[in-house]
Symmetry: C2
Subunit: 456 residues, 2 copies
């Protein structure tokens, strides 16, 4: 499987480079998949990259440019002759060009667009107008469209002519006289239909479309839900503007999954590794994207300190109580994170709808109660053995149980409330939940301790 | 866009059900996409589901069975006549049947397989033999294969005959006399080739395949990396056993993303909401899958308590020190989680390879140093204002800075080491990292305090 062979490819290419075996390297590269070559290039020094890239045939070089990241794309392109630039860019698929340009500065975008032919340049400029993250930006204009009054025979002939350039030929989009989308036919249906029928008698009018301004994540969900190979993108007048194919949807889904995971960890620095060249810039971006979450945590921590200040007397008199603070806050944080992660993910994957909200809440609180009983019993015994003081053991045990149940409740309610008021639960929940849980947990613990120890 | 219309569909169906307008409901349902009907059914009571399902045409009913979850699949099927069961199951795609059966008890699997025709039953039984999560289990046997000595014309004719049953007709797999896979042709290439050529002269022999025993996540990565619409699955003798299509890859990716997110939160309870019917069973499963992480946290917390026991004297003498403990452990935990999440994700998406390891480490430690400087300065000022004691402020500030830098380092190194020794970094990192950071953070803080306060 190609994925596991990466190191083999890399070391073979490096060896052939060192030994200056250009011809052998050329032959080796031509047999490799473009995606593998791109991966190897991304792990070579800039001058080695240029050397290897120069050995590729035009066809392979085009495919590699489609697969490689923006930064490398820009570097590799710089070193080519005028003719080579024009040839490679002309053969590249539009949405890949737009994808690379999206992440380059505007001046560099203009430079590269200048090498495109008139039609491609116009298309690329149109696509770049749409905002990043929308269907318009992710779509391609390389689709096959036919008029509704074509015969099946003529439709297949049209397809033969356009096929080499089209991004997908498995759906043919049917339009009326003014380019409005009226139907779709799959190549499969076309192949099995009588050649003399007209397209509008066999086309499927029950179309699933997306709008140019739709969020790309919603587009990915539509393609995934309805098992499509491509989805047409229309504007507000229902004019067909482009299509988004399933291979791009895979990329979108991977991007969004990474974003979601980063959000949970309290950072939004997606893709910084790829886009910035210097260590300083990359570190600065990371710092800027992580600081907001950390500063919220500082305020939470200072609030905790303020609350603990009220219990100074209790702590001074019983320094043993302080020993179990990290255990208490740690467990609360863990339980809260478990509940909130599951709630946030269920919201994202639409498991929670209607009655699901109530069911999730009951579920999470029940889980909190049960894990609370098990864990607080264990902890109470451990505290008893460590301190041989049943008061401390009792306080720690009861506080732990109350804290874990509260934590599960807070971890479930906060994302649901955030969703209700229109705040992204994944981003906002993490620092807010852990802080709240710390505050309630410590208050429960020391209030209990103050009451029980004073009473004794 | 269909996804956003869910509530509209649900309330319309509920209204028509209440008003007993069966004919109108039938017409309304036939216009809906099967994926939408399945989603509506999953939100109705069991008896309503059966009523609605009974109104569907055979074609629609088959599609709905393909889309619906296992539990509902089993319920809906139970209430049908023998003929209806046979008809619907015969038309369902194989991989969907296997997918539903996978999550049902074996006795129920056997009951359902009994309604399949001989050939389908044999195929489904074969697929069920492969382990859950492997390529063999996820594949379908509904593919188009042709012999290498066919002409293009005859290949297209074969396709016309098989097309209605096949899962995808966009790739035709070419085999030799003993069913070994020797090449592939896309429908696109076939359409544009001269009808009298033989298949082996135009087929692509540079095949990307996966093995029946490969992990489905690796299969998804291969399909995504090489932009395939389907990938052939072969056994150890290179005999073609099935194919996996890109729509199934989308489902696999979504499943794996959810699993990854759950792992970060310290739980492995994926899909429990769907598969268990009673609240008790669901809660029990959640408790069992969350407890291991919590118990590890308990041991970590007890170790913290043990360390703090050594500093009892310092704490008793300066109860103020205890005030800042939650702030210190909270910040360390946050920084550590940020670094470990990014490292784990980079490992998963293969950003970290070769020199990337060293680069990631340098990056994360630098980020830890910088966010540490900003945050510890803020905290030191706040501590100064709250306590008007520059000793405490200095201790808290320095400890915070050291702790945050250490946390970033630990958060990066632990996943890398786990990966090296073959442990899943996503599962093992979370509790291990927070515990380690708590221990080092508290040790730094109280050691510093003991030294500085004793010295004064």
């Amino acid at each position: 499987m190609g994925l596991l062979m990466f190191y083999e490819y890399l070391s073979k290419v490096e060896t052939l480079l060192e030994e200056n075996k250009d011809l052998e390297l050329h032959v080796y590269l031509e047999d490799m998949h473009a995606a593998d070559i791109a991966e190897v290039l991304e792990n070579l020094e800039d001058d080695q990259q240029i050397q290897v890239f120069g050995l590729l045939s035009d066809e392979k070089a085009t495919e590699v440019l489609e697969e490689i990241n923006s930064e490398q794309f820009s570097i590799l392109l710089k070193d080519l002759t005028y003719e080579k630039k024009v040839t490679l860019l002309e053969n590249m698929s539009q949405d890949d060009i737009v994808d690379k340009l999206s992440e380059l500065p505007e001046s560099r975008q203009q430079e590269i667009i200048a090498f495109l032919d008139y039609e491609d340049a116009a298309d690329v400029k149109e696509l770049l107008v749409y905002e990043e993250g929308t269907a318009g930006r992710s779509m391609t204009k390389d689709y096959v469209s036919i008029r509704k009054d074509y015969s099946v025979y003529y439709a297949i002939e049209t397809l033969r002519a356009i096929a080499p350039d089209a991004e997908t030929i498995y759906y043919l989009y049917v339009t009326d006289e003014i380019d409005r989308l009226v139907g779709v036919i799959s190549l499969r249906e076309l192949i099995i239909s009588p050649p003399n029928r007209t397209v509008d008698t066999i086309m499927n009018e029950n179309l699933i479309t997306v709008n140019v301004n739709d969020d790309q994540e919603d587009v990915a969900k539509v393609v995934s839900k309805y098992d499509l190979l491509a989805v047409p993108v229309v504007d507000n007048d229902n004019i067909l503007r482009g299509i988004i194919t399933i291979d791009d949807v895979l990329d979108i889904l991977e991007e969004e999954a990474t974003e979601d995971i980063f959000k949970f960890a309290g950072t939004s620095e997606y893709e910084i590794y790829e886009n910035d060249t210097t260590l300083f810039k990359r570190v600065r971006n990371s710092v800027m994207s992580r600081l907001p979450w950390l500063i919220i945590t500082i305020f939470g921590g200072l609030l905790s300190a303020r609350i603990l200040a009220n219990f100074q007397g209790t702590i001074s008199a019983n320094a043993t109580l302080a020993m179990f603070m990290p255990l208490l806050t740690g467990m609360g944080g863990n339980v809260g994170t478990q509940s909130s992660t599951i709630t946030v993910r269920n919201i994202a994957t639409h498991v929670i709808e209607g009655t699901g909200i109530f069911r999730t809440l009951i579920h999470e609180i029940s889980v909190g109660l049960f894990v609370g009983i098990v864990c607080s019993t264990m902890v109470a015994f451990a505290a008893m053995m460590m301190q041989a003081d049943y008061h401390i053991a009792l306080i720690v045990g009861i506080a732990m149980w109350a804290n874990m149940t509260t934590a599960a409740t807070i971890g479930t309610i906060v994302p649901l409330v955030f969703k209700k008021i229109g705040v992204d639960p994944a981003v906002a929940s993490a620092p807010f939940i852990t802080t709240t849980i710390d505050l309630t947990g410590l208050t429960i613990y020391f209030s209990l301790a103050t009451i029980m120890i004073t009473k004794v």
